[in-house]
Symmetry: D2
């Protein structure tokens, strides 16, 4: 993987010549395309594209690429976002008491699986301090009560800003996120919900699944929006269960789903492969 | 598979000696157990068992087994059902216009996969007459309107009784089944719903799935009860989808799920492997 | 889906400007791209692309497109293939005695799932004549012995040519295909092998799987080449099994895999989504 | 789950009265069966059973149960093994340089998922010392060369005996285990092989998979026997891959399979759910 690449995400009304316009720009300035994926939503007539190209011989300086793109985008009503592989995202992991998602992220991070930096862990409990510190990650405890919820979240926000956090990962954080934080991190807060959404929204989804007698349990990673459990879905997976499984079994089995689904969604997010449009995601492969 | 076996399904409050009581009865009358599976629901303290034994050397006549079992069952508050492999279930398949589930059942039946007889096909449309008749199965057309729904269903019931139907299979039959038929076939009407229930109940589940942007689509086979899409679930499966799939794609891909899920659920039902308890199923393997 | 589209499949040494060159050609002649997918094999530095565009307003006549493409391709050492949605592929299905794959293809064909024509069925047994004729498909019986194998295959080839067959589907045809037919249909003969290749090549894969005690069984659809079971793999799937399953169970369960894997591979082939390179496939989505 | 239970694993020639004999013994001494699963291999006419019962009111002392069972077993040619939930297995984890399986086991262990004790980690490299010590597990480094292999393994064996190790887990340990250790731990050494066995035995299975162009990659956990990669398979799983995945991608994706497959196999082993018969496993659910 070349050290120095640019990723451009784009969507706009479908019209002839879109791929051509973008690839022409890259080609004429001596960029080499490493990956290009486009998608057309034929119901809404919307065009989506992700293109990654090498900057090695690119004749435009990084700082100037945006203004060139703006010119291409303007006449085509194009939404776009440009990112560079050299700018690693800085992550904050929010947890409560359950360790499996945290351990999974930290151990993947340890082997360099995410091109990102885990900057800190935030929790409303002390439980996972040692799990975090084992991996050399700073742990910040913000006890939460009904009364102090808003005030504590304000302090969390300060910390996130201070530490220049780009993305928040709710790794089984059992608190509802308030509007100010959601607005500060639009489509940059990932959550893992322990069911196949939209089945079993809200609390205790494994209990709900057990009661209904479903034959599969699931997990869903989505961006957090103001509507609880209603944000754009990034990734989902399920596994078979049967009458033999108690609620405790579902909880235990579900951990494997939760950690894998969240870590995969996080990886795609970090690689700038996820684009949100009308409360749904386009996940480029 | 021996030609002549008995299957006993049982559930009752858990108590010591249950497996022993039943296996003692079989053993002392020279039955040979071919398959035994038990399950204990530790939340409700309920015991479930399915046992199948060879009648080859069994010293009690078929007609007399029930009265022996009644004695074992009585003191233990045991619910039980006895079935013989020689009594093949007679099936009625209800369809509307979509052929994939019907074809799947008929072609499996053609190769002897179900130890059951497909006696007839019922439909509210003429569309699948030739599909049925191709396989030599009688096709009965009952056009349904809002006004004649109850009257037509009454006639359907007459037909089912007349033809000694044991089990009704709703193979994408797009009509709601009335109370009289549900009561006449308790836990003997199987439906296929084209979503992972309880997500997307009701009409047009693939459209709902598309709107929500889920990353998996599913199908659910369940017994029909008076609460729409709320009956005990027998089997479920899912497959991955992405932003690349239109509603039409979901409909097409979902067919593979629907036919496989329904046919498998039907097979287990026909083999007396499904037991219903508190709106959930125990599916013995 | 627009009625009139062109599909271009391409591969060549990777070099800057490839996407641009092709999309420029389409754009300048008023074609509208409906789908474009590219892939770069970074190990071999090879570029692959599939692009589909609407011919509605395209300013070059169908008959002339190839010569334009030849000019683009030449200097870039590009392998390419052009196909039109209006040219439906004509299929011959080869079977022996097992019906499940045949039924699956014919019933999907009945609902228009493949944009192709099933022209005829060929078999070395009479067993599936009625299954074919039920669906109105001509059935041709070619009894095969060790002695007449080559001669009969020659007659089959004549029939295929006479009926202008494009693609041969071995739907559990239990005969080895000879070199002349393979050479006449390069990467146009699809087979379904009843294992997860390369595990269990050759005869009786389910027996081999049972003996080895694997916990998954599989099916593989591949193009037929002269090396038995070694051709480029198009699609594979598996399902879990356990000690509870006898060889007969594996055979029965495997049918669901076989028919689904073969029908999906066939669909992609028919839609010109499969490209073969160095005995492997690129399957565009 | 009651604190004090016995697990009996059994196999013998199938004969009438086997379930009855064992359940009669448990019942008459006031044991309460918590779980019973039996299986009959109809090809070999062999009967298998796992039964777990509460010792709370059991009238025979733990130390005397074996002699009672011996009497039941003798006349029936029964192989059997008795274990108590109070006797936790002691595990040694063998690793080389890859951390994902080790982290997965240690983090599950941290949350009490295995009723077992991770006593120590053994490695031929220093690489994972800190990963082990982070979790408070003793790390033992045994550098291995061609010359010292046998001698070092002898020392490892001494350590395992000294620390009363019951089960060895090869968590991506890239050394071949010698005969003395295999004989010292019959069916008590678990390995994870990074392919769907029997496909791609030996070294570099992901490279082999890439070369062959398979559409699924897999992982297999098996007991180690003297035939490399030929031991009884406990668990397997796969995931879909495509032409888009490089060898490095396969390696990365495969880690999720490897860790989950190994940890699940280990859990079943620790819970005494696995029985080996003729180089295959019966895995009770």
């Amino acid at each position: 993987m070349p050290a120095d690449t640019a990723v451009l995400l784009v969507y706009c009304p479908d019209q002839p010549g879109l791929v051509h316009a973008v690839t022409h720009f890259i080609f004429e300035h001596r960029g080499n395309i490493l990956d290009l994926e486009q998608h057309i939503d034929h119901e809404d007539d919307v065009f989506f594209m992700r293109v990654e190209w090498s900057l090695e011989k690119f004749t435009i300086a990084k700082a100037d690429i945006a203004s060139h793109l703006a010119r291409i985008a303007e006449s085509r009503l194009m939404w776009w976002r440009l990112q560079f592989s050299t700018e690693r995202k800085r992550l904050a992991i929010f947890v409560s008491k359950e360790s499996h998602c945290l351990y999974d992220i930290l151990s993947r991070n340890d082997t360099g699986e995410f091109p990102a930096d885990v900057a800190l862990v935030v929790s409303n409990h002390e439980t996972l301090r040692s799990a975090s510190e084992r991996f050399g990650i700073a742990f910040h405890h913000f006890p939460i009560t009904k009364e102090n919820h808003a005030a504590q979240e304000e302090k969390q926000l300060e910390l996130l800003n201070e530490r220049r956090i780009d993305t928040v990962v709710l790794a089984r954080y059992m608190q509802i996120i308030g509007r100010p934080m959601i607005e500060a991190f639009p489509h940059r807060i990932l959550n893992i919900h322990h069911s196949f959404l939209p089945a079993f929204v809200g609390a205790k989804p494994y209990h709900q699944a057990y009661e209904r007698g479903v034959k599969l349990i699931g997990a869903t990673s989505h961006y957090v929006t103001e509507d609880l459990d209603q944000g754009p879905i990034i990734h989902q997976d399920v596994m078979p269960v049967s009458h033999q499984h108690s609620v405790d079994d579902l909880v235990r089995l579900g951990r494997d789903l939760e950690k894998t689904v969240l870590s995969n969604a996080l990886r795609w997010h970090v690689l700038n492969k996820v684009l949100v449009y009308r409360n749904k995601t386009v996940v480029f492969s």
